[in-house]
């Protein structure tokens, strides 16, 4: 299989690679940033990359119920919304006690 990414067509592999790059960027952001909100941004990017691959599989891969991928994405978005709400609430709660949301400084396991 020839590795020609910018072919004049879009196949499953291409979408998967785009998703992988997006996931990798999200991973990097989530691991390397100090601000809790930035870490959350990385996590959201990773979730988006996963969603993208779900949609790609739904679009390209043979299946009796191809739209199940979409349903999964809807669930992931739901969970992401809940997760974001709780995580940001945690950030605010931590800020209230320590006046910082730098994950490096929130190292004590007690308040």
């Amino acid at each position: 299989m020839s590795i020609v990414l910018l072919a004049a067509r879009v196949d499953l592999e291409h979408v998967l690679i785009v998703g992988a790059v997006l996931f990798a960027i999200g991973l990097y952001v989530a691991l390397s940033k100090r601000n809790a909100v930035a870490v959350l941004m990385g996590i959201e990017l990773m979730l988006n990359a996963v969603n993208l691959t779900f949609i790609a599989f739904a679009r390209f891969v043979e299946s009796p119920r191809p739209l199940d991928g979409h349903v999964f994405v809807i669930f992931v978005i739901t969970v992401a919304a809940a997760e974001a709400a709780v995580a940001l609430a945690l950030a605010v709660a931590v800020y209230r006690h320590r006046e910082t949301i730098d994950v490096g400084k929130i190292s004590l396991l007690r308040w």
Binding site: V92, Y95, R96, H97
Partner: protein, 367 residues
């Protein structure tokens, strides 16, 4: 434990659409809540009290126009009546009645302006303001017909008024007096029956009767708080003891009460004007007073009920043609005494409404 946030210090004014001139309020905000407020004034200070010591008693009348320029007629009235009392000058009957008519017209104009801008501060997009301006315009037309000026009138003189009214004045005034009650009924329908205005102005900026008295508030602010006090009734000056009118008094002392007291006072003023028109005697319009007359040595404090509140003049004469001391008790300034207490703990939007309900005039605050 509340979230530690930076307090936000915001300058409301001096260039702000709702501060009615160059008034500045420095508020400290926690979110939208005001935790501290301080007013900074003096942007329009013209040092009138000092200037007045260099001018003769008659030359000072134009200064009184330029203090509360929205109620110049009552400014004239207060000063002239104080000097007359100091010098013991008798004013002709006709002049007294003309003064009452013009002062009450001026009160209607000033209250129309105050209520229009108040509703504008509540966020109505200038429509009530324009309606109120329409009525004020007609009153200013009457002023122009009589003394040629519309805003800074310089109409009253020590000993009377400058000009007698022209012949077409009374019919025009009659038209106005017949027309205005209907108009104000209409504004009642537009504004008082409006749920949003009620929500915005009721229970906002409350000041109790005791606090209002302690803070020397006067005029519609004092009456809005439930104190039935009006200088026209309590200390009748001029010929006010000959008219039959009532004092509108509010219930809780919130912004809505002050607004409604002004609305009701307009109707009382109209009734006074009607009575004055009926009783208007013929005769001379001004007593003979020399241009550089010298009142006897002495001092006097005399007050009238201006649209904004108790407008008093404390004049000291040392027998020279110039006043020794010319002090104005300006209602706009003293009504601001309780501003901080009224706005702290409210939101910015309410603070603007409260300020609008006080009805200050920066020309009179700073003098």
């Amino acid at each position: 434990m509340a979230i530690k946030t930076e307090p936000l210090v915001v300058n409301i004014g001096p260039q702000h659409p709702s501060t009615h001139g160059v008034f500045r309020m420095r508020v400290t905000l926690d979110g939208e809540l005001i935790t501290d407020a301080e007013m900074v004034i003096g942007y329009l200070h013209r040092s009138m009290e000092k200037l007045a010591e260099e001018r003769t008693w008659t030359q000072n009348i134009p200064f009184t126009d330029r203090m509360d320029y929205l109620a110049a007629m009552t400014g004239n009235f207060a000063y002239c009546i104080t000097v007359e009392k100091l010098a013991g000058i008798e004013v002709p009957e006709r002049a007294e009645y003309l003064r009452v008519i013009f002062a009450e017209l001026q009160r209607i104009a000033s209250h129309a302006m105050a209520n229009g801008t108040f509703v504008n501060d509540c966020g109505a997009w200038q429509t009530p303001l324009f309606y109120m301006f329409r009525e004020r315009e007609k009153i200013l037309d009457l002023f122009e017909m009589t003394c040629g000026a519309r805003l800074t009138l310089n109409y009253m003189r020590i000993g009377g008024v400058a000009f007698d009214i022209p012949d077409e004045f009374l019919p025009q005034l009659q038209l106005l007096v017949d027309e205005l009650p209907d108009r104000f009924d209409e504004y009642d329908q537009l504004l008082v029956d409006n749920e949003i205005l009620l929500m915005r102005s009721r229970d906002i900026g409350i000041i109790s009767a005791e606090d209002a008295m302690n803070a020397s508030l006067s005029g519609p602010m004092l009456r809005g708080s439930g104190v039935a006090w009006d200088v026209r009734k309590g200390d009748p000056y001029g010929v006010y003891d000959r008219f039959d009118f009532e004092i509108p008094v509010g219930h809780t002392g919130d912004c809505f009460d002050r607004f409604m007291v002004r609305m009701a006072e307009v109707r009382q003023s109209l009734s006074i004007i009607k009575q004055a028109m009926e009783q208007l005697p013929p005769g001379n319009h001004c007593a003979e007073v020399p241009l550089n007359f010298r009142p006897p040595e002495g001092e006097i404090y005399c007050r009238i009920e201006s649209p904004k509140g108790e407008l008093g003049y404390y004049l000291i004469s040392d027998g020279s043609p110039f006043p020794f001391r010319f002090h104005v008790r300006s209602p706009s300034l003293i009504n601001l005494s309780a501003l901080k207490e009224m706005v702290v703990g409210q939101t910015v939007a309410d603070a603007i409404v409260t300020l609008g309900s006080i009805d200050i005039n920066v020309g009179e605050v700073d003098r």
